[in-house]
């Protein structure tokens, strides 16, 4: 491709997705914006090699490589600093608003859930966060983490099973206290 205007039209709608992934990788909004900025510059520089098909996958690959090369030096624990999870409040415009009862329950359940997720090994945690929290498809998650889709399916399945077991244990312990 050698058309800057077409490049802009293809890339601009992907900015929110890139920001969400970058936020997951860097752990904060300021670094995420810098990472996306750098990704866009690199993508523009590599425009001649892009055939115009699947811009999201192409951009996510550039973003992952940029994060790997640049951000890893700054933040060795990248793709893994999910400690921010318990501090995150559910989004105001989350798809399904919680009922009053759910709101009360969430005060008890959220810390248990966050602890269960944080107890997972990094590769499982990253997959769970990208698919369940951020809502990426298996294919997008595979692109972001640079692994085959089959690996994502397997990690996701094992991660959910582990979280379920941890929650079950935590609930039983809470009842016996």
């Amino acid at each position: 491709m050698n058309n800057p205007e077409r490049f802009r039209l293809l890339v601009e709608p992907e900015i929110p997705v890139l920001l969400r992934v970058a936020r997951s990788l860097t752990g904060n909004s300021a670094d995420a914006e810098d990472l996306v900025q750098e990704t866009l510059i690199k993508a523009f520089g590599a425009l001649k090699n892009f055939d115009g098909a699947n811009p999201r996958a192409w951009l996510l690959t550039i973003l992952r490589n940029t994060a790997h090369n640049v951000w890893r030096k700054k933040k060795p624990d990248y793709v893994g600093d999910w400690n921010l999870l318990p501090e995150n409040k559910p989004a105001f415009n989350a798809e399904t608003p919680r009922s009053a009862e759910e709101e009360v329950l969430s005060g008890v359940l959220d810390p248990m859930l966050a602890a269960a997720v944080n107890a997972l090994a990094e590769e499982f945690r990253a997959t769970l966060i990208l698919v369940d929290v951020e809502g990426f498809t298996y294919a997008e998650c595979a692109e972001i983490l640079g692994v085959p889709i089959g690996t994502i399916m397997s990690r996701r399945s094992r991660a959910v099973a582990k979280v379920r077991k941890s929650l079950q244990k935590a609930r039983e312990e809470a009842v016996t206290k």
Binding site: P16, Q37, A91, D110, I149
Partner: protein, 89 residues
């Protein structure tokens, strides 16, 4: 443990291995019609697998509540810088 429970154990194992794909319905990993029927038939009669399916659903729903919102100002700044980048060329 009941004899019927022991008999259904291999099927439970198969169902649990495919449960996430069934719940996610991700386009990259679709189940065949035959697999869907097999899974739904088992969940309808197995209380344990049905309970696990519900727990998976609840866990996934609870996790999605943590989804962070993207800062609109960041989007605008990046859109503007993209515009500059492509116009400069």
């Amino acid at each position: 443990m009941k004899i019927s429970e022991v008999m259904s154990m291999p099927e439970c194992h198969w169902v649990r291995a495919h449960l996430i794909r069934y719940l996610d319905r991700d386009p990259s990993a679709p189940l065949s019609e035959e697999e869907l029927t097999r899974l739904q038939t088992h969940i309808a009669i197995c209380d344990k697998c049905a309970a696990i399916s519900d727990e998976y659903r609840e866990t996934s729903k609870a996790l999605s509540q943590f989804r962070t919102q993207v800062d609109q100002e960041s989007i605008e700044r990046l859109s503007n810088s993209l515009k500059k980048l492509t116009l400069e060329d």
